[in-house]
Symmetry: C2
Subunit: 228 residues, 2 copies
């Protein structure tokens, strides 16, 4: 379980912070206290503190001690931070906000993929399509297959920021599925839908690709709104 103490403490504290166990502004025990509390050395503690400060959760200065940063400074696009939030205080509100980001990004990514995808990337998308088909025959995990399909599109967009978001989207999708309780919330389950998206991208039909993805996400948002 415990790979190393620094990582362990980083995650423990990270979760505790996003859970709100330490008040914003000035609410963390000093290094010395953390040492004895978690029974590890000061070097390990300091390294965990550095990690958390690199993720924007805290800052530490002499005399002032370790302070929890306001949420606006947290790096929500860090998969660790996002994971801690999803784990500690998941909510439909957060899911909605997350889906709004998807709504901003994914249709555009599909459009760009239709315009820029290399033959190799199109093959990857086609492979992902087959995996979805197999998953519906029970040969593979359905969620994994859907996420993979989405990933390949993001990669094919050629935009490094979108590619970076694959990890972000993946992390959150695995949680959101627990809320909507069906894959519909993640993506249309219909194979023909994915086929259409693939065809549009392959044929360079940017507008169709964009609209298809956009429509699914509008449905997903409506579903979330209805449960809010």
């Amino acid at each position: 379980m415990s790979q190393n103490l620094t990582q362990q403490l980083t995650h423990t504290l990270g979760e505790a912070i996003v859970k709100g166990e330490y008040p914003i502004g000035k609410g963390m025990p000093s290094e010395a206290v953390l040492c004895v509390q978690y029974e590890i050395s000061r070097s390990a503690t300091r390294e965990a503190v550095k990690m958390l400060s690199a993720k924007g959760l805290i800052s530490s200065r002499p005399k002032q001690g370790i302070t929890v940063n306001p949420e606006s400074q947290w790096n929500l696009f860090d998969t660790d931070v996002l994971g801690w939030i999803l784990k500690s205080k998941p909510s439909l509100h957060l899911l909605k906000e997350f889906t709004q980001v998807r709504f901003g990004i994914e249709p555009l990514a599909a459009k760009l993929a239709a315009q820029n995808a290399t033959p190799e990337q199109i093959n990857h998308i086609e492979d992902a399509l087959h995996r979805i088909a197999q998953s519906q025959a029970g040969l593979e995990d359905e969620l994994d297959a859907h996420i993979n399909f989405l990933n390949m599109i993001l990669v094919a967009s050629g935009n490094r920021f979108f590619i970076q978001l694959t990890q972000f989207v993946n992390a959150a999708l695995r949680v959101s599925i627990r809320y909507t309780n069906n894959v519909k919330g993640v993506s249309n389950t219909d194979v023909t839908f994915h086929l259409k998206v693939f065809e549009a991208i392959k044929q360079g039909d940017a507008n169709t690709a964009q609209t298809l993805v956009s429509d699914v996400l509008i449905d997903a948002l409506a579903l979330i709104e209805s449960r809010l």
Copy 2:
């Protein structure tokens, strides 16, 4: 200049990594080497390494040493990482990709702002509008005023991820301006344009707000494409 050695080394190494000075896969000196190279202690070195690994740039494991992660694992939405990239190898391609992200986010943020902004947030946007007017009279920095206006809209969207992106957008805008050499690349300079956006948001006209912002970014993208 050098507030503390850990931060200093973090930035030095971070820049060097994104600059490609260390090959991907396996290309960093060991801790021991970094110590003597930069003439600082091992603990400071380790803390810098932890920070960089928290940002996804590197990973370190026993025997294997410190390895540079593939770019896909870098946290591009971390303002430090983004800053290092923009500083070390700025390019029109990156600016284009960045503007595509803006195109995905900002029109949607404007739409959400029109739907959800609180009266206080609307006041903030109005204040920002006045700052823009003053900036064109030479009373304030024009870029600052434009960025501030944008920030207020992102905040008014009520979406935490969009709010988080303010820092991201700000960091990049200050660089992109150097390329396009005019504020047009950042946002329409016409005051009446900003006034229109503000009015749309104030009156809850989501579609107009969205379209206005969208159109400006389409122009910006076209401008970048033309110079590519």
